[in-house]
């Protein structure tokens, strides 16, 4: 309703303006009918040709272009979606492979460690046995050496003291008496050196 009143008021106001202009400036060129027919003719001609060319040639092309672009964009979006799904699946596969290989690697590592530990303990046992044997042998040797040591020392002591006495006194002294003295001394002193 407001729209209609608005239109009508515009119409009437311009009607009055037209009257005023016509009275004042000797007429608007727009109201001079001299070229009206010419303007109508050229308007119909140009507008008609433009309408025909636009509607028959140009606008269908533009709508075609728009539609084909839309179709292509949709196609591309579909393709992209498909590829995304593909890549998601591949990613899952990849994750699975990685977790599987991690487990495998863990088990391989554990096996290798157990094997290494077993090897090491076996070798250690062998080595321990060897070392024990060697220690026992060495102990035996030491024992024999220790057993023989006082006898040898006594012998050396007897010989040394007999030679010493011979040089000091100049006479041959009976070996057996020296042996008795040395034995007696070594027995007493042996306890000081081999007190075990």
């Amino acid at each position: 309703m407001v729209k209609k009143i608005y239109f009508q008021s515009i119409f009437f106001s311009f009607f009055f303006i037209k009257e005023a202009f016509a009275a004042e400036s000797g007429g608007m060129p727009q109201l001079n009918p001299e070229f009206w027919v010419s303007q109508i003719f050229w308007l119909i001609l140009t507008f008609g040709i433009m309408y025909l060319v636009l509607s028959k040639l140009i606008l269908p092309k533009i709508s075609n272009n728009l539609e084909s672009r839309k179709a292509q964009i949709l196609e591309n979006i579909e393709a992209a979606e498909k590829q995304r799904e593909n890549s998601d699946a591949k990613l899952k596969e990849y994750d699975e492979i990685i977790s599987k290989s991690k487990l495998e690697a863990n088990s391989i590592f554990n096996q290798a460690r157990e094997k290494a530990i077993k090897d090491i303990s076996a070798k250690r046992e062998v080595l321990d046995k060897q070392i024990d044997d060697e220690i026992a042998e060495a102990e035996k040797e030491i024992d024999t050496l220790r057993k023989n040591a006082p006898d040898k020392i006594n012998k050396i002591a007897i010989e040394t003291s007999s030679e010493l006495l011979q040089k000091l006194i100049g006479a041959e002294i009976n070996n057996s008496s020296i042996t008795a003295i040395v034995d007696d001394l070594s027995k007493r002193n042996g306890e000081k050196y081999y007190g075990n």
Partner: protein, 244 residues
């Protein structure tokens, strides 16, 4: 150029007088600018539709934006039934727009500032819409003048008002465009005349006014083309989908 601000609307013959019978259809400056407008429209849209690249270049973008703009305008106001009339409304919008815009170039002629041009367009639309309405709805189209929900006492008055408003459509449609263009161009001419008459001392104020008016007039040139097209759509909507 004369100082008379109305002289810019003068129509004059270019070339010889052409007469068909008693009718004078000489080529005038108005015809020249009609041809210029239509040729540039065809040029722009031909260039814009030639190549179909996925990433449109500037002119293609322009053509496609105008296409979608007009098609959206039609579907918003007149619905999907108005699709067959798309080419006409598109041509109408572009023709008015280009004529208005050509008029904004100094020393040019504004085709749409002549009542006869706008009136022929409006009358064609009016007749076309009325014919479409009667074809679609038969005599039922007359129900347009009888709004629903009006008390019976007021009905005679309302019907008369509706008929007057319907009949004034071509006049309001044509006068709106013509008066807007004429008033704007006259005003610009008047302010331009002030710049000259006030000279270097006082001419700056009307000059700045003139600059602002130029911007406003470019807006009006677009807006009036839009209004012309959208009112056509609204009238078409009345004819296609009888609402009352």
């Amino acid at each position: 150029m004369a100082a008379n601000p109305m002289s810019q609307f003068d129509v004059y013959r270019i070339g010889p007088e052409i007469k068909v019978g008693a009718l004078d259809i000489s080529f005038t400056n108005a015809s020249l600018f009609m041809i210029l407008s239509t040729v540039s429209i065809l040029l722009v849209f031909n260039l814009g539709s030639k190549k179909n690249s996925i990433l449109p270049n500037k002119i293609q973008l322009l053509a496609e934006l105008s296409y979608t703009f007009v098609s959206k305008m039609i579907s918003d106001t007149a619905g999907s039934k108005a699709k067959p009339y798309f080419a006409f409304i598109f041509s109408l919008f572009m023709f008015v727009l280009f004529c208005n815009m050509f008029g904004m170039i100094p020393y040019t002629f504004t085709v749409t500032s002549h009542i006869i041009v706008t009136f022929v367009l409006a009358a064609f639309i009016f007749i076309g819409v009325t014919v479409i309405g009667f074809i679609k709805h038969g005599f039922g189209y007359l129900k347009l003048f009888v709004p629903s929900g009006v008390p019976a006492v007021l009905l005679p008055l309302i019907v008369v008002i509706e008929i007057i408003s319907y009949l004034s459509r071509p006049i309001s449609l044509s006068v709106r465009l013509f008066a807007n263009m004429m008033a704007g161009h006259t005003m610009m001419k008047v302010f331009g005349g002030f710049v000259i008459s006030l000279g270097i001392v006082g001419g700056w104020l009307p000059l700045s006014f003139s600059v602002a008016l130029t911007g406003l007039e470019i807006l009006v040139a677009f807006l009036q083309a839009y209004v012309f097209a959208i009112l056509t759509c609204i009238y078409l909507n009345d004819a296609l989908n009888l609402h009352h």
